[in-house]
């Protein structure tokens, strides 16, 4: 008997009970403005920063990696294709989650997973309408793709519990909110 069959044969026959109802937090009835305000508080507490396109202009001398399809609108910057050497990675974010201050990044065919991961600064671009109140709402909207929920800059507290940002992922997380 191979490993699969032998393991399956040892699993007991289940009852016909239905699974318990999934637990949900109430999503409340906050307006979009209130959701963004809650998001902003959480996002800033985690060390994230909300910026504008103008802020990025100050970094035009750095190596950038930009997700295809995003118009960063700055002439003259060096858009490097080696993601490991980039200082700034710019990608889209699909959802903002007010409850946790998180951003959901789906991997679409045009997405660059490494651009939100390897450079020390990750800039995410999001539509103002793409905000949901809770994790429940965000996970309900997961697509059949790989995805990552990013909640603040990369961090560790492994050495004596001291919080350090930017271990392996970006130490800076910036967000540009675009009006629809």
């Amino acid at each position: 008997m191979n490993a699969r069959e032998s393991m399956l044969s040892r699993l007991p026959k289940p009852s016909q009970d239905p699974p318990p109802e999934p637990f949900q937090l109430p999503s409340g009835d906050l307006s979009r403005v209130q959701l963004w305000s809650q998001f902003h508080t959480r996002f800033s507490d985690l060390g994230g920063t909300i910026v504008t396109w103008q802020t990025l202009a100050g970094l035009s001398d750095r190596n950038w990696i930009v997700e295809p399809g995003l118009d960063v609108g700055q002439g003259g910057m060096h858009v490097d294709c080696d993601v490991w050497n980039a200082s700034v990675g710019v990608t889209r974010a699909d959802l903002a989650v007010a409850e946790t201050g998180s951003l959901l990044l789906n991997q679409w065919p045009f997405s660059r997973r490494m651009a939100s991961l390897a450079p020390p600064i990750h800039v995410a671009v999001i539509n103002e309408s793409s905000i949901v109140p809770t994790l429940d709402a965000a996970i309900e909207r997961l697509e059949r793709t790989n995805a990552v929920l990013v909640t603040g800059p990369s961090r560790t507290a492994d050495i004596e519990g001291v919080l350090v940002r930017g271990v392996h992922g970006p130490g800076e997380l910036w967000l540009i909110v675009e009006r629809d």
Partner: protein, 447 residues
């Protein structure tokens, strides 16, 4: 003396303090976060316990569904009955993908610790690199993790700094920020060269075949994104029925483990890269591991399989705080480990169930309400019956006296003299002061 006590007695004070302080801080952060996140944390814990119990009761259809969905998504599923089989499956996959000498990056995973994977890969000639900061330090120091969430809870910055200096990772510094960036620089080159990435799994969703991994540093994302091949290893019990179950468990895990509302990165892995995608691994493999779990499932300690490895019971445990995880002598430590280790490997390990005061704090903090003290008692009972727990002689003496009324009465008269007998117990404690008459006399004379 049992091995736990022996270990604690020889523990240096700095290590003891690191473990104690970090555990206490994390316990407080857990309380603050969970009470802020949930209007009623108690009902959240009950719901999570119910779902995990449902999973254990319905593992067969859930695991079959997981396998089918993974297959649809392009994830190749492998099965392993024990550690040896798991190592050989993983080694086989590595050999298909790269030659000996190649770099294999590892994200923190208790399942791979459990099967002692690193040794097997190193023996086969691979350059295995742990990439979680704590695990990296442990690997450099030829040490083992002393906590399932924070592996170097027993080390301080000076020890890490000396280790990095000795291994040419960077120059000596006492700043955690600089030590962290030294590790980042060093590990970057490993990530770039790596041909295979190996990780654990926090939750696998039966309904959709999605593998969910949580972390804070980004090493797990890099390990599962940059190399051409990703191998995920999971204990067979780590399934959840549906995606709608995820939010509760993600909140409870992050809150209980590190006092966060959400970990920095939560990956929802759906499959290998699509042909048109710009990056991501070409192959994703899932190794489903038994290694004693199915024995545990059929036995009296099955509730321990509800565990989601948050480590809250370690942080809150007064015994763990005295000794660190190393005192337990097993990959899994703390109250969880004291039950899980013997449940997986047999009652021969039951002696670590003695390393508990049965205070019940572990059950109170457990996000899935595992009755750990009850399981520990059961384990002690079984251990004594099967003679894997041998009580020290003074206890059998106590039993002989305490079960004979006349001996007990006489010996009570002698209690005040006990102060005169030198014993290790009284070195750190005071005998209670006897205040006049004893209870028996008082009871007799009451009328």
């Amino acid at each position: 003396m049992n091995p736990f006590d022996a270990f604690v007695r020889n523990l240096d004070p700095a290590t003891g303090k690191s473990v104690h302080d970090a555990s206490a801080t994390k316990t407080q952060q857990r309380i603050d976060t969970l009470s802020a996140v949930f209007p009623d944390p108690e009902s959240a814990r009950s719901a999570a316990a119910r779902t995990r119990q449902y999973v254990l009761d319905h593992l067969k259809p859930l695991v079959l569904s997981l396998e089918e969905q993974c297959h649809k998504n392009g994830i190749v599923v492998h099965w392993a009955r024990d550690a040896k089989e798991a190592r050989s499956v993983i080694l086989g996959l590595c050999r298909q993908s790269c030659r000996p000498g190649a770099v294999i990056v590892k994200a923190k995973s208790m399942a791979t610790e459990e099967i002692h994977l690193n040794h097997a890969l190193a023996d086969a000639g691979y350059d295995v690199v742990e990439t979680d900061l704590g695990e990296f330090v442990v690997q450099l120091d030829h040490d083992t993790p002393s906590h399932i969430v924070t592996p170097i809870i027993h080390k301080n910055r000076y020890q890490v700094a000396r280790l990095f200096e000795e291994n040419n990772i960077g120059t000596y510094t006492e700043k955690p920020e600089e030590l962290t960036s030294q590790a980042r620089r060093h590990l970057r080159t490993q990530f770039r060269r790596a041909e295979v990435g190996i990780s654990g799994v926090n939750f696998a969703v039966a309904e959709t075949g999605r593998l969910v991994l949580v972390e804070n540093e980004g090493n797990s994302r890099l390990s599962t994104t940059a190399p051409r091949v990703h191998i995920a290893v999971m204990g067979i019990e780590k399934v959840l029925p549906s995606e709608a179950d995820l939010p509760l468990f993600l909140r409870l895990l992050a809150g209980s483990a590190t006092g966060q509302r959400a970990t920095v990165y939560t990956h929802f892995i759906h499959g290998p890269r699509k042909p048109e995608a710009l990056d991501g691994p070409d192959e994703v493999h899932l190794v489903i591991l038994d290694n004693g779990r199915l024995d545990a499932l059929a036995g009296p300690y099955r509730d321990i399989l509800r565990c989601i490895r948050c480590g809250a019971c370690l942080n809150v445990c007064p015994v763990y705080r005295q000794g660190s995880g190393h005192a337990y002598g097993h990959v899994y430590s703390g109250p969880l480990g004291a039950v899980l280790a013997p449940a997986l490997e047999g009652v021969g390990l039951a002696a670590i169930a003695k390393a508990s005061s049965l205070c019940g704090a572990c059950e109170e903090v457990c996000p899935v309400k595992i009755p750990i003290p009850e399981l520990l008692l059961h384990l002690r009972d079984q251990g004594v019956r099967e003679k894997t727990i041998v009580d020290p002689i003074p206890w059998s003496g106590f039993v002989a006296v305490a079960t004979r009324a006349y001996l007990w009465r006489t010996s009570l008269q002698a209690v005040p003299m006990a102060k005169l007998v030198p014993n290790p117990w009284s070195r750190h404690r005071h005998m209670p002061r006897r205040d006049g008459r004893d209870f028996r006399r008082w009871f007799r004379e009451r009328a």
